[in-house]
Protein backbone atom coordinates (compact mmCIF):
# COMPACT_ATOMS: atom_id res chain seq x y z
CA UNK A 1 0.00 0.00 0.00
CA UNK A 2 1.91 3.08 -1.13
CA UNK A 3 1.34 6.40 0.51
CA UNK A 4 -0.41 9.12 -1.42
CA UNK A 5 1.88 11.73 -2.93
CA UNK A 6 2.92 14.48 -0.58
CA UNK A 7 3.19 18.15 -1.35
CA UNK A 8 6.10 18.61 0.99
CA UNK A 9 9.28 16.63 1.59
CA UNK A 10 8.82 13.81 4.09
CA UNK A 11 10.11 14.58 7.55
CA UNK A 12 9.60 11.03 8.76
CA UNK A 13 9.80 7.90 6.64
CA UNK A 14 9.03 4.44 7.90
CA UNK A 15 9.88 1.73 5.40
CA UNK A 16 8.92 -1.95 5.73
CA UNK A 17 9.41 -2.03 9.45
CA UNK A 18 8.98 -5.21 11.45
CA UNK A 19 9.06 -5.15 15.22
CA UNK A 20 7.91 -7.02 18.24
CA UNK A 21 8.74 -8.35 21.68
CA UNK A 22 9.53 -11.95 22.42
CA UNK A 23 8.80 -14.45 19.70
CA UNK A 24 6.46 -13.06 17.09
CA UNK A 25 6.30 -9.78 15.23
CA UNK A 26 3.67 -7.30 16.19
CA UNK A 27 4.44 -4.80 13.46
CA UNK A 28 4.60 -6.66 10.18
CA UNK A 29 5.94 -4.64 7.36
CA UNK A 30 4.63 -1.12 7.80
CA UNK A 31 5.25 1.72 5.37
CA UNK A 32 4.41 5.19 6.53
CA UNK A 33 5.31 8.76 5.69
CA UNK A 34 4.82 12.07 7.43
CA UNK A 35 5.39 15.24 5.50
CA UNK A 36 6.73 18.47 6.96
CA UNK A 37 4.03 20.33 8.81
CA UNK A 38 1.46 17.56 8.38
CA UNK A 39 -0.74 15.93 10.97
CA UNK A 40 -1.06 12.20 10.38
CA UNK A 41 -3.20 9.91 12.52
CA UNK A 42 -2.94 6.15 12.89
CA UNK A 43 -6.13 4.41 13.91
CA UNK A 44 -7.10 0.82 14.30
CA UNK A 45 -8.54 -1.73 16.69
CA UNK A 46 -6.92 -2.64 19.99
CA UNK A 47 -3.97 -4.93 19.60
CA UNK A 48 -3.32 -3.77 16.08
CA UNK A 49 0.20 -2.78 17.04
CA UNK A 50 -0.21 0.98 16.95
CA UNK A 51 1.58 1.53 20.23
CA UNK A 52 4.38 -0.85 19.26
CA UNK A 53 4.73 0.93 15.95
CA UNK A 54 5.13 4.30 17.52
CA UNK A 55 7.53 2.94 20.12
CA UNK A 56 9.60 1.45 17.33
CA UNK A 57 9.74 4.73 15.49
CA UNK A 58 10.76 6.44 18.71
CA UNK A 59 13.55 3.96 19.28
CA UNK A 60 12.16 2.46 22.47
CA UNK A 61 11.68 -0.82 20.65
CA UNK A 62 14.30 -2.02 18.20
CA UNK A 63 13.02 -2.70 14.70
CA UNK A 64 13.81 -6.16 13.44
CA UNK A 65 13.76 -5.12 9.80
CA UNK A 66 13.14 -2.01 7.79
CA UNK A 67 14.35 1.55 8.14
CA UNK A 68 13.17 4.67 9.85
CA UNK A 69 14.47 8.03 8.67
CA UNK A 70 14.04 11.53 9.87
CA UNK A 71 14.56 14.21 7.29
CA UNK A 72 16.55 11.76 5.22
CA UNK A 73 18.77 10.62 8.07
CA UNK A 74 18.43 6.99 9.09
CA UNK A 75 17.70 6.62 12.79
CA UNK A 76 16.49 3.05 13.07
CA UNK A 77 18.89 1.09 15.24
CA UNK A 78 19.97 4.14 17.16
CA UNK A 79 19.40 4.23 20.87
CA UNK A 80 16.46 6.26 22.09
CA UNK A 81 18.79 8.80 23.67
CA UNK A 82 20.48 9.41 20.33
CA UNK A 83 17.21 9.69 18.49
CA UNK A 84 16.25 12.50 20.84
CA UNK A 85 18.71 14.71 19.00
CA UNK A 86 17.34 13.91 15.60
CA UNK A 87 14.43 16.32 15.54
CA UNK A 88 11.81 13.84 16.66
CA UNK A 89 10.14 13.98 20.06
CA UNK A 90 8.06 11.14 21.44
CA UNK A 91 5.37 11.46 24.09
CA UNK A 92 4.48 8.08 25.60
CA UNK A 93 0.95 7.34 26.67
CA UNK A 94 1.76 6.41 30.24
CA UNK A 95 4.52 7.24 32.69
CA UNK A 96 5.32 10.22 30.54
CA UNK A 97 6.50 12.63 33.20
CA UNK A 98 9.05 12.50 35.99
CA UNK A 99 6.66 12.42 38.89
CA UNK A 100 9.19 13.29 41.57
CA UNK A 101 10.54 16.30 39.68
CA UNK A 102 8.84 19.68 39.55
CA UNK A 103 7.14 20.95 36.42
CA UNK A 104 10.06 23.24 35.77
CA UNK A 105 12.59 20.45 36.27
CA UNK A 106 10.60 18.21 33.96
CA UNK A 107 10.72 20.80 31.24
CA UNK A 108 14.42 21.35 31.84
CA UNK A 109 14.93 17.62 31.41
CA UNK A 110 13.02 17.86 28.19
CA UNK A 111 15.60 20.32 26.90
CA UNK A 112 18.53 18.14 27.89
CA UNK A 113 19.83 17.83 24.35
CA UNK A 114 19.28 21.51 23.63
CA UNK A 115 20.57 23.28 26.73
CA UNK A 116 21.45 26.53 25.01
CA UNK A 117 17.86 27.33 24.16
CA UNK A 118 16.14 26.36 27.39
CA UNK A 119 14.91 29.85 28.27
CA UNK A 120 13.42 30.47 24.87
CA UNK A 121 11.72 27.09 24.69
CA UNK A 122 10.38 27.46 28.22
CA UNK A 123 8.70 30.70 27.27
CA UNK A 124 7.12 29.01 24.31
CA UNK A 125 5.86 26.05 26.32
CA UNK A 126 4.47 28.31 29.03
CA UNK A 127 2.73 30.27 26.30
CA UNK A 128 1.00 27.11 25.17
CA UNK A 129 0.26 26.04 28.74
CA UNK A 130 -0.07 29.06 31.02
CA UNK A 131 -1.20 26.97 33.98
CA UNK A 132 2.17 25.24 33.97
CA UNK A 133 3.92 28.52 34.56
CA UNK A 134 1.81 29.01 37.65
CA UNK A 135 2.50 25.50 38.94
CA UNK A 136 6.10 25.24 37.88
CA UNK A 137 7.33 24.45 41.40
CA UNK A 138 4.90 21.61 41.90
CA UNK A 139 6.03 18.01 41.65
CA UNK A 140 4.57 16.48 38.52
CA UNK A 141 3.13 13.59 40.49
CA UNK A 142 0.88 16.06 42.32
CA UNK A 143 -0.68 17.51 39.21
CA UNK A 144 -4.02 16.56 37.76
CA UNK A 145 -4.09 14.14 34.85
CA UNK A 146 -4.70 16.89 32.36
CA UNK A 147 -1.85 19.02 33.66
CA UNK A 148 0.46 16.03 33.56
CA UNK A 149 -0.36 15.51 29.90
CA UNK A 150 0.54 19.13 29.35
CA UNK A 151 3.89 18.60 31.02
CA UNK A 152 4.47 15.52 28.90
CA UNK A 153 3.73 17.38 25.70
CA UNK A 154 5.63 20.41 26.94
CA UNK A 155 8.73 18.31 27.55
CA UNK A 156 8.65 17.09 23.98
CA UNK A 157 8.28 20.62 22.67
CA UNK A 158 11.38 21.75 24.54
CA UNK A 159 13.65 20.31 21.87
CA UNK A 160 11.99 22.27 19.08
CA UNK A 161 11.17 19.07 17.22
CA UNK A 162 10.41 18.76 13.54
CA UNK A 163 8.00 15.92 14.23
CA UNK A 164 6.05 14.93 17.32
CA UNK A 165 5.09 11.34 18.02
CA UNK A 166 2.03 11.26 20.23
CA UNK A 167 0.71 8.05 21.75
CA UNK A 168 -2.94 8.66 22.63
CA UNK A 169 -2.63 12.31 23.69
CA UNK A 170 -6.24 12.46 24.83
CA UNK A 171 -6.16 9.30 26.95
CA UNK A 172 -7.66 9.76 30.38
CA UNK A 173 -8.69 13.35 29.77
CA UNK A 174 -12.14 14.78 30.43
CA UNK A 175 -14.04 15.82 27.28
CA UNK A 176 -13.32 19.48 27.84
CA UNK A 177 -9.62 18.82 28.22
CA UNK A 178 -9.65 16.62 25.16
CA UNK A 179 -10.80 19.57 23.13
CA UNK A 180 -8.11 21.77 24.67
CA UNK A 181 -5.44 19.19 24.02
CA UNK A 182 -6.35 18.87 20.36
CA UNK A 183 -6.42 22.61 20.03
CA UNK A 184 -2.93 22.87 21.44
CA UNK A 185 -1.74 20.18 19.06
CA UNK A 186 -3.25 22.15 16.22
CA UNK A 187 -1.50 25.29 17.43
CA UNK A 188 1.81 23.53 17.68
CA UNK A 189 1.30 22.14 14.21
CA UNK A 190 0.51 25.57 12.80
CA UNK A 191 3.93 26.66 13.98
CA UNK A 192 5.42 24.09 11.63
CA UNK A 193 5.75 20.94 13.70
CA UNK A 194 4.60 17.72 12.01
CA UNK A 195 2.59 15.35 14.13
CA UNK A 196 2.16 11.60 13.98
CA UNK A 197 -0.37 10.41 16.46
CA UNK A 198 -2.21 7.34 17.56
CA UNK A 199 -5.65 8.07 18.80
CA UNK A 200 -8.63 6.12 19.99
CA UNK A 201 -10.61 9.31 19.57
CA UNK A 202 -10.33 8.55 15.89
CA UNK A 203 -12.95 10.94 14.55
CA UNK A 204 -11.63 14.05 16.23
CA UNK A 205 -8.07 13.12 15.41
CA UNK A 206 -8.85 12.57 11.75
CA UNK A 207 -10.81 15.80 11.61
CA UNK A 208 -7.64 17.73 12.29
CA UNK A 209 -5.35 15.52 10.24
CA UNK A 210 -4.41 15.72 6.61
CA UNK A 211 -3.92 11.99 6.24
CA UNK A 212 -4.54 8.79 8.12
CA UNK A 213 -3.46 5.19 8.25
CA UNK A 214 -5.59 2.29 9.38
CA UNK A 215 -3.53 -0.34 11.12
CA UNK A 216 -4.86 -3.80 11.86
CA UNK A 217 -2.99 -6.94 12.91
CA UNK A 218 0.33 -5.19 12.46
CA UNK A 219 -0.20 -4.10 8.88
CA UNK A 220 -1.46 -1.02 7.10
CA UNK A 221 -4.89 -1.79 5.73
CA UNK A 222 -5.75 1.60 4.40
CA UNK A 223 -3.89 4.80 3.77
CA UNK A 224 -5.74 7.83 2.54
CA UNK A 225 -6.56 11.48 3.02
CA UNK A 226 -8.21 12.02 6.38
CA UNK A 227 -11.49 13.34 5.02
CA UNK A 228 -11.84 10.39 2.68
CA UNK A 229 -11.24 8.01 5.60
CA UNK A 230 -13.89 9.80 7.59
CA UNK A 231 -16.33 9.46 4.72
CA UNK A 232 -15.51 5.82 4.15
CA UNK A 233 -18.46 3.84 5.50
CA UNK A 234 -16.52 0.66 6.13
CA UNK A 235 -13.86 2.47 8.06
CA UNK A 236 -16.53 4.27 10.00
CA UNK A 237 -18.20 1.04 10.96
CA UNK A 238 -15.11 -0.90 11.88
CA UNK A 239 -12.78 1.64 13.33
CA UNK A 240 -14.53 4.85 14.09
CA UNK A 241 -17.05 3.47 16.56
CA UNK A 242 -17.99 5.94 19.30
CA UNK A 243 -15.21 5.62 21.82
CA UNK A 244 -15.19 8.43 24.27
Amino acid sequence: MSAPALDAAPVLTVAEVYAGYGRGDIVKGVDLVVGAGEIVTVIGPNGAGKSTLIKTIAGVVRPRAGTISIGGRVVSGLRASQIARSGMAYVPQEANVFRTLTVLENLEMGAWVLPERVRERLDLVFAHFPVLRQRRGVAAGNLSGGQRQMVALGMALMVDPKVLLLDEPSAGLSPKLVGEMFEIIANVNRAGVAVLMIEQNAVRALEMSSRGYVLAAGQVRLSDAADRLLANAEVGELYLGARD
Binding site: G20, Y21, G22, R23, G24
Partner: protein, 313 residues
Protein backbone atom coordinates in the same frame (compact mmCIF):
# COMPACT_ATOMS: atom_id res chain seq x y z
CA UNK B 1 39.81 -43.58 51.88
CA UNK B 2 36.50 -45.36 51.56
CA UNK B 3 35.44 -43.99 54.87
CA UNK B 4 36.17 -40.53 53.58
CA UNK B 5 34.21 -41.12 50.40
CA UNK B 6 31.27 -42.51 52.29
CA UNK B 7 31.30 -39.47 54.50
CA UNK B 8 31.53 -37.11 51.58
CA UNK B 9 28.69 -38.84 49.79
CA UNK B 10 26.57 -38.48 52.88
CA UNK B 11 27.17 -34.76 52.91
CA UNK B 12 26.37 -34.65 49.21
CA UNK B 13 23.17 -36.39 50.14
CA UNK B 14 22.12 -33.56 52.43
CA UNK B 15 22.84 -31.10 49.64
CA UNK B 16 20.82 -33.21 47.26
CA UNK B 17 17.75 -33.19 49.44
CA UNK B 18 18.01 -29.44 49.91
CA UNK B 19 18.59 -28.90 46.20
CA UNK B 20 15.66 -31.10 45.23
CA UNK B 21 13.45 -29.17 47.62
CA UNK B 22 14.67 -25.83 46.30
CA UNK B 23 14.09 -27.00 42.77
CA UNK B 24 10.55 -27.89 43.68
CA UNK B 25 10.00 -24.40 44.96
CA UNK B 26 11.93 -22.42 42.40
CA UNK B 27 12.79 -24.47 39.37
CA UNK B 28 9.33 -25.93 39.05
CA UNK B 29 7.12 -23.26 40.60
CA UNK B 30 9.14 -20.08 40.39
CA UNK B 31 9.45 -19.17 44.06
CA UNK B 32 12.79 -17.70 44.97
CA UNK B 33 13.78 -19.14 48.33
CA UNK B 34 16.93 -17.87 49.97
CA UNK B 35 15.92 -19.02 53.39
CA UNK B 36 16.99 -22.62 52.93
CA UNK B 37 19.28 -22.47 55.95
CA UNK B 38 16.35 -21.43 58.10
CA UNK B 39 14.28 -24.53 57.45
CA UNK B 40 17.41 -26.64 57.58
CA UNK B 41 18.24 -25.19 61.00
CA UNK B 42 14.71 -25.56 62.29
CA UNK B 43 14.73 -29.21 61.36
CA UNK B 44 18.16 -29.78 62.85
CA UNK B 45 17.38 -28.13 66.17
CA UNK B 46 13.90 -29.61 66.43
CA UNK B 47 15.06 -33.16 66.06
CA UNK B 48 18.15 -32.62 68.20
CA UNK B 49 16.33 -31.02 71.08
CA UNK B 50 13.51 -33.54 71.03
CA UNK B 51 15.83 -36.52 71.01
CA UNK B 52 18.49 -35.20 73.32
CA UNK B 53 16.44 -33.21 75.81
CA UNK B 54 13.09 -34.93 75.63
CA UNK B 55 14.23 -38.44 74.90
CA UNK B 56 12.25 -38.94 71.73
CA UNK B 57 13.36 -41.71 69.38
CA UNK B 58 15.19 -40.89 66.18
CA UNK B 59 12.32 -41.47 63.80
CA UNK B 60 9.98 -39.32 65.85
CA UNK B 61 12.57 -36.60 65.95
CA UNK B 62 13.03 -36.57 62.20
CA UNK B 63 9.30 -36.61 61.64
CA UNK B 64 8.88 -33.68 63.98
CA UNK B 65 11.60 -31.87 62.07
CA UNK B 66 9.66 -32.38 58.90
CA UNK B 67 6.50 -31.14 60.54
CA UNK B 68 8.20 -28.01 61.84
CA UNK B 69 9.66 -27.40 58.39
CA UNK B 70 6.22 -27.80 56.89
CA UNK B 71 4.54 -25.40 59.28
CA UNK B 72 7.30 -22.83 58.97
CA UNK B 73 7.05 -23.12 55.23
CA UNK B 74 3.33 -22.52 55.31
CA UNK B 75 3.86 -19.43 57.43
CA UNK B 76 6.64 -17.93 55.37
CA UNK B 77 5.05 -18.61 52.03
CA UNK B 78 1.60 -17.49 53.03
CA UNK B 79 2.95 -14.13 53.99
CA UNK B 80 5.33 -13.57 51.19
CA UNK B 81 4.78 -15.48 47.97
CA UNK B 82 3.00 -12.59 46.37
CA UNK B 83 6.16 -10.53 46.52
CA UNK B 84 8.20 -10.09 43.40
CA UNK B 85 11.23 -12.32 43.03
CA UNK B 86 14.02 -10.22 44.43
CA UNK B 87 12.03 -9.14 47.48
CA UNK B 88 10.92 -12.68 48.13
CA UNK B 89 14.61 -13.60 48.13
CA UNK B 90 15.36 -10.94 50.70
CA UNK B 91 12.43 -11.80 52.93
CA UNK B 92 13.23 -15.51 52.91
CA UNK B 93 16.87 -14.70 53.60
CA UNK B 94 15.64 -12.60 56.49
CA UNK B 95 13.69 -15.53 57.82
CA UNK B 96 16.79 -17.72 57.74
CA UNK B 97 18.86 -15.10 59.50
CA UNK B 98 16.21 -14.60 62.15
CA UNK B 99 16.19 -18.33 62.84
CA UNK B 100 19.94 -18.24 63.16
CA UNK B 101 19.79 -15.25 65.49
CA UNK B 102 17.26 -16.95 67.72
CA UNK B 103 19.44 -20.04 67.82
CA UNK B 104 22.39 -17.84 68.68
CA UNK B 105 20.66 -15.84 71.34
CA UNK B 106 18.39 -18.30 73.09
CA UNK B 107 21.28 -20.45 74.20
CA UNK B 108 19.37 -21.62 77.23
CA UNK B 109 17.56 -23.78 74.69
CA UNK B 110 19.89 -24.24 71.80
CA UNK B 111 23.27 -24.01 73.55
CA UNK B 112 24.00 -21.12 71.20
CA UNK B 113 27.45 -20.81 69.72
CA UNK B 114 28.83 -23.48 72.00
CA UNK B 115 27.13 -26.06 69.92
CA UNK B 116 24.58 -28.69 70.68
CA UNK B 117 25.98 -32.20 70.90
CA UNK B 118 23.73 -34.95 69.69
CA UNK B 119 24.44 -38.51 70.59
CA UNK B 120 21.20 -40.03 69.48
CA UNK B 121 21.53 -42.17 66.39
CA UNK B 122 19.40 -44.96 65.01
CA UNK B 123 20.81 -48.42 65.57
CA UNK B 124 24.14 -47.04 66.70
CA UNK B 125 25.02 -50.21 68.54
CA UNK B 126 24.24 -52.52 65.68
CA UNK B 127 27.07 -51.48 63.37
CA UNK B 128 30.73 -50.83 63.88
CA UNK B 129 32.12 -47.46 62.96
CA UNK B 130 32.78 -48.12 59.30
CA UNK B 131 29.64 -50.08 58.81
CA UNK B 132 27.65 -47.35 60.41
CA UNK B 133 28.90 -44.90 57.83
CA UNK B 134 27.41 -47.05 55.07
CA UNK B 135 24.21 -47.47 57.00
CA UNK B 136 23.67 -43.78 57.48
CA UNK B 137 24.58 -43.14 53.88
CA UNK B 138 21.86 -45.59 53.04
CA UNK B 139 19.32 -43.68 55.10
CA UNK B 140 20.24 -40.41 53.46
CA UNK B 141 20.25 -41.81 49.96
CA UNK B 142 16.91 -43.43 50.62
CA UNK B 143 15.54 -40.04 51.54
CA UNK B 144 17.04 -38.56 48.41
CA UNK B 145 15.40 -41.24 46.34
CA UNK B 146 12.04 -40.73 48.01
CA UNK B 147 12.20 -36.99 47.47
CA UNK B 148 13.30 -37.45 43.89
CA UNK B 149 10.49 -39.84 43.12
CA UNK B 150 7.83 -37.73 44.76
CA UNK B 151 8.95 -34.55 43.05
CA UNK B 152 9.32 -36.17 39.67
CA UNK B 153 5.86 -37.73 39.92
CA UNK B 154 4.53 -34.35 40.89
CA UNK B 155 6.23 -32.70 37.97
CA UNK B 156 4.66 -35.01 35.45
CA UNK B 157 1.23 -34.85 36.99
CA UNK B 158 -1.52 -32.33 36.24
CA UNK B 159 -0.54 -30.61 39.47
CA UNK B 160 2.93 -30.26 38.06
CA UNK B 161 1.54 -28.52 35.02
CA UNK B 162 -0.22 -26.05 37.26
CA UNK B 163 3.08 -25.44 39.02
CA UNK B 164 4.72 -24.79 35.70
CA UNK B 165 1.95 -22.46 34.61
CA UNK B 166 2.42 -20.46 37.79
CA UNK B 167 6.14 -20.30 37.20
CA UNK B 168 5.70 -19.04 33.68
CA UNK B 169 3.07 -16.41 34.31
CA UNK B 170 1.05 -16.37 37.47
CA UNK B 171 -1.33 -13.72 36.20
CA UNK B 172 -2.37 -15.96 33.37
CA UNK B 173 -2.58 -18.94 35.67
CA UNK B 174 -4.85 -17.05 38.03
CA UNK B 175 -7.20 -16.05 35.27
CA UNK B 176 -7.41 -19.69 34.28
CA UNK B 177 -8.96 -20.33 37.65
CA UNK B 178 -6.08 -21.99 39.37
CA UNK B 179 -5.83 -21.08 43.01
CA UNK B 180 -2.36 -19.69 42.72
CA UNK B 181 -1.81 -18.85 46.36
CA UNK B 182 -2.90 -22.25 47.57
CA UNK B 183 -0.67 -24.13 45.16
CA UNK B 184 2.27 -21.93 46.01
CA UNK B 185 1.88 -22.44 49.73
CA UNK B 186 1.46 -26.17 49.28
CA UNK B 187 4.53 -26.51 47.10
CA UNK B 188 6.64 -24.28 49.28
CA UNK B 189 5.63 -26.14 52.41
CA UNK B 190 6.36 -29.51 50.82
CA UNK B 191 9.81 -28.28 49.93
CA UNK B 192 10.47 -26.80 53.34
CA UNK B 193 9.30 -30.01 54.98
CA UNK B 194 12.05 -31.91 53.21
CA UNK B 195 14.54 -29.20 54.13
CA UNK B 196 13.61 -29.77 57.74
CA UNK B 197 14.06 -33.52 57.38
CA UNK B 198 17.44 -32.93 55.79
CA UNK B 199 18.36 -30.76 58.75
CA UNK B 200 17.47 -33.51 61.17
CA UNK B 201 19.46 -36.09 59.28
CA UNK B 202 22.37 -33.66 59.16
CA UNK B 203 22.24 -33.05 62.89
CA UNK B 204 22.24 -36.71 63.83
CA UNK B 205 25.10 -37.35 61.46
CA UNK B 206 27.48 -34.56 62.40
CA UNK B 207 26.50 -34.93 66.03
CA UNK B 208 27.11 -31.30 66.81
CA UNK B 209 25.26 -28.30 65.47
CA UNK B 210 25.65 -24.60 66.11
CA UNK B 211 24.22 -21.51 64.47
CA UNK B 212 27.28 -21.00 62.31
CA UNK B 213 26.40 -24.12 60.35
CA UNK B 214 23.33 -22.35 59.08
CA UNK B 215 24.59 -19.17 57.49
CA UNK B 216 23.46 -17.75 54.12
CA UNK B 217 26.44 -19.45 52.52
CA UNK B 218 24.39 -22.63 52.66
CA UNK B 219 21.83 -20.97 50.41
CA UNK B 220 24.55 -20.01 47.97
CA UNK B 221 25.82 -23.58 47.75
CA UNK B 222 22.37 -25.01 47.18
CA UNK B 223 21.47 -22.39 44.60
CA UNK B 224 24.74 -23.18 42.91
CA UNK B 225 23.76 -26.83 42.76
CA UNK B 226 20.40 -26.09 41.27
CA UNK B 227 21.68 -23.57 38.77
CA UNK B 228 24.56 -25.77 37.73
CA UNK B 229 22.18 -28.58 37.07
CA UNK B 230 19.68 -26.43 35.26
CA UNK B 231 16.52 -25.13 36.86
CA UNK B 232 13.65 -27.54 36.81
CA UNK B 233 15.91 -30.44 36.08
CA UNK B 234 15.87 -32.88 38.97
CA UNK B 235 18.47 -35.25 37.59
CA UNK B 236 20.70 -32.35 36.72
CA UNK B 237 20.77 -30.89 40.15
CA UNK B 238 21.84 -34.15 41.72
CA UNK B 239 24.90 -33.93 39.57
CA UNK B 240 25.09 -30.22 40.35
CA UNK B 241 25.13 -30.97 44.05
CA UNK B 242 27.87 -33.49 43.49
CA UNK B 243 29.86 -30.93 41.56
CA UNK B 244 29.54 -28.30 44.25
CA UNK B 245 30.61 -30.74 46.93
CA UNK B 246 33.54 -31.92 44.82
CA UNK B 247 34.56 -28.32 44.46
CA UNK B 248 34.36 -27.72 48.16
CA UNK B 249 36.23 -30.86 49.02
CA UNK B 250 38.67 -30.42 46.19
CA UNK B 251 39.89 -27.18 47.64
CA UNK B 252 40.58 -29.06 50.82
CA UNK B 253 43.11 -31.18 48.97
CA UNK B 254 44.46 -28.04 47.44
CA UNK B 255 45.23 -26.94 50.94
CA UNK B 256 47.31 -30.02 51.53
CA UNK B 257 49.27 -29.37 48.39
CA UNK B 258 49.95 -25.72 49.02
CA UNK B 259 51.30 -25.62 52.50
CA UNK B 260 51.29 -21.93 53.21
CA UNK B 261 47.51 -21.76 53.13
CA UNK B 262 46.07 -22.34 56.56
CA UNK B 263 42.56 -23.53 57.19
CA UNK B 264 41.10 -20.06 57.44
CA UNK B 265 42.60 -18.84 54.22
CA UNK B 266 41.44 -21.99 52.57
CA UNK B 267 37.91 -21.43 53.71
CA UNK B 268 38.02 -17.98 52.17
CA UNK B 269 39.42 -19.25 48.90
CA UNK B 270 36.74 -21.88 48.77
CA UNK B 271 34.00 -19.32 49.06
CA UNK B 272 35.62 -17.04 46.52
CA UNK B 273 35.87 -19.89 44.05
CA UNK B 274 32.24 -20.87 44.50
CA UNK B 275 31.15 -17.26 44.24
CA UNK B 276 33.10 -16.67 41.06
CA UNK B 277 31.82 -19.87 39.55
CA UNK B 278 28.25 -18.95 40.39
CA UNK B 279 28.64 -15.63 38.65
CA UNK B 280 30.30 -17.26 35.65
CA UNK B 281 27.58 -19.87 35.34
CA UNK B 282 24.86 -17.27 35.53
CA UNK B 283 26.64 -15.17 32.97
CA UNK B 284 27.56 -17.79 30.44
CA UNK B 285 25.38 -20.80 31.02
CA UNK B 286 22.27 -19.73 32.84
CA UNK B 287 20.52 -22.84 31.64
CA UNK B 288 22.94 -24.96 33.58
CA UNK B 289 26.32 -26.49 33.04
CA UNK B 290 24.94 -29.75 31.79
CA UNK B 291 23.55 -30.16 28.30
CA UNK B 292 19.84 -29.58 28.26
CA UNK B 293 17.86 -32.72 28.28
CA UNK B 294 14.62 -30.95 27.76
CA UNK B 295 13.74 -27.35 27.17
CA UNK B 296 12.31 -26.32 30.48
CA UNK B 297 12.69 -22.58 30.19
CA UNK B 298 15.17 -21.78 32.93
CA UNK B 299 14.31 -18.40 34.32
CA UNK B 300 17.69 -17.15 35.31
CA UNK B 301 18.79 -16.34 31.83
CA UNK B 302 16.43 -14.49 29.59
CA UNK B 303 14.26 -11.81 31.02
CA UNK B 304 10.56 -12.32 31.19
CA UNK B 305 8.63 -10.76 28.37
CA UNK B 306 5.87 -8.76 29.90
CA UNK B 307 4.24 -7.77 26.67
CA UNK B 308 4.21 -11.10 25.01
CA UNK B 309 2.34 -13.64 27.06
CA UNK B 310 3.36 -16.70 25.15
CA UNK B 311 6.63 -17.99 23.89
CA UNK B 312 9.02 -17.80 26.78
CA UNK B 313 12.44 -17.18 25.11
Amino acid sequence: MTVYLVSMLTYVGFFMILALALNLQWGMTGMVNFGIAGFYALGAYTSSLLTVDAGWPFVAGVSAAGAVGLIAGIGVSFLSVRLRDDFLAIVTLGFAELVRLVALNEDWLTRGPRGLPIDVRPLSDVFDRDGYGWFYLGIVMLTVAVAFLIFERLRRSPYGRVMKAIREDDVVAATLGKDVLRVRVQVFALGSMFMGIAGALYAHYTQNISPEHFTPTVAIFIWMSVIAGGAGNNKGLLIGAGMVMTLLEGTRFLGDAISFLDAEKLASIRIIVIGVLLILVIRFRPRGILPEEKFDGARFGAGRDAANGGGNP
